[in-house]
Assembly symmetry: C2
Amino acid sequence: MELKQQATVTLAEVAEAAGVGESTVSRVLRNHGSFSGKTRERVMAAVERLGYVPNRIAGTLASTGSRLVAFVIPSLSNIVFPDVLRGASAVLEENRYQSVFSVTDYDPGREEALAAAMLAWRPAAVMLAGYEHTDGTAKMLRASGCRVVELLDLDGDALDIAVGFSNRAAGRESAAFLLKRAYRRIGYVGHDLQRDTRAGKRFSSFCETLEAAGAPLIAREILAGPSSVENGRLGLERLLARATDLDAVYFSNDDMALGGYFHCLAQGIAIPSQLAIFGYNGLDIGRAIPQPLSTIRTPRVATGEIAAQLIVANAPPQVVDLGFELIEGATA
Amino acid sequence: MELKQQATVTLAEVAEAAGVGESTVSRVLRNHGSFSGKTRERVMAAVERLGYVPNRIAGTLASTGSRLVAFVIPSLSNIVFPDVLRGASAVLEENRYQSVFSVTDYDPGREEALAAAMLAWRPAAVMLAGYEHTDGTAKMLRASGCRVVELLDLDGDALDIAVGFSNRAAGRESAAFLLKRAYRRIGYVGHDLQRDTRAGKRFSSFCETLEAAGAPLIAREILAGPSSVENGRLGLERLLARATDLDAVYFSNDDMALGGYFHCLAQGIAIPSQLAIFGYNGLDIGRAIPQPLSTIRTPRVATGEIAAQLIVANAPPQVVDLGFELIEGATA
DNA sequence: CCGCAAATTGGCAGCGCTGCCAAAAAAATC
DNA sequence: GATTTTTTTGGCAGCGCTGCCAATTTGCGG
């Protein structure tokens, strides 16, 4: 167990120590090509003795493809993205891929810069959220020759692979559900829709559905900043101050909806008789509150898993609709 | 705006197109060394025209250090880790570093394998959770010569840099708080402590403090699987079925505590008069429920930020205690 | 024991870039 | 205008590994 120096051990040194050629060491370590059992042992012994750690930088440069998948995601605060990462990284790690990520903070310009930085690592695939990219980003991705996966949205044209579900459909079904339940005076509490374009799509098709049914949205409250429980609470408070006669409120997602739910609890507003609440995402916590939250459960982890599987399998360009599930719950 | 082929543009081609040498292109692109204004323009024009994206694989191999930081984290479900990643990645991206991550699922063996895989990318630093690593992991990290940051725990010996707070102190202060509030019949609901050693440390010092005060823990309920709101609810239900005379329950974290809180809400158990609830983490949602959760707020994002800053600044080995804040709340 | 096919093995040229060094050009000095 | 100094530039040897190809060894049938 001698201590190693700073100087890193190279494959050549292992070859030397094992008394074999470099390519033999390479073959043994990658278990690729043919070599005898005793050679294998000698090499492994030398690897162990020297504490050799292969240099994948060099390996990737010398070979063609990298086993690197780049994620360019809007946020880590919004639970959606850690969930997607979780699903994807489980599959990727199983297949000995590595995940690199960066966070755009919902800024298309940053997305472009970060996508460029990721591309510099010549990843096997780039995964990003949705379809809204700058022209520069799209051009760059197309030119890169690496696989591109757009996640969590299907309302647009895919560059290569898309995995997710339709946010427009989610908005539409949410509205249809509330209408079916005979709510007619409906409001909305949301976070920044300029940035979160998927929430924006849900909202606009939600509104269209209401209008088509002759019960247009009565009032809305849009809060600056990211979605959060506190913003949901605050948003509902403000909305109700302006529009006292609402019978249902649609929230941009479950975080916000929970905030609204707690506001009602604290204010003694009866749910759903006095006010109905509907969310989006299907967070676990929504099922654990006294009245399960009415919401739409989205396949976030599965989105990551499927996306990763398609990349690992080098599947052809395609659009995979994983759908979503409307959870009736008890708040609407 | 001609379309590029699959074949990637190399620096040599840019040099050719710009009518300059390779090293000149390299200098211009990295803005390092000297070159004239017109050379710069010629190079940039060629870069633009050819759609050149530098190959950082090659660049890193040729130069010495990489601007890559590897995260080896136990989980992405536990909000702690996305929060740490968020803090760290913001700082790292600002400094043009890239983040690679992998998820160990709280398995030390997997941690070792994944750490080895990360080391193969010769990162500038490896960040991992806590101090509990296999001998193999520790040896490998020490031998690697790259910076190592251990996060979210200070109860042990750091390999290099450690950033976080003491989980033992957190457990101790939680117990002290409950004792000060005159609770004496205290129970515990937690998730798998074998795996989450930081939760284990909190729990053991919590118990020690209770014992020292002559009010040892009455009952505990440990659930298999990860922490979750639902498990917290279930855990409290089970615990109360066995121990009916508790006056307070300490939860392994806020997720679990919220589950317990909702259980009480649903069962009509008055909080805190009939039963007090104390959590750990200081999630936002804990502040938005009708009675703010009594808990300990941990500096998760700051832990990531500070860790990243130390790496960017190439700071000497050190232990940074960021402390935590006890939130009295209204549930205990 | 020989000949031929199959299994092993080593040598070495890159992969695309950076870093060093010397050459060339430009600027400054006498 | 000659010389020195400074700035700018290009050439090229690697970084550590993989992939190709040729050389060597081994296995087998006759």
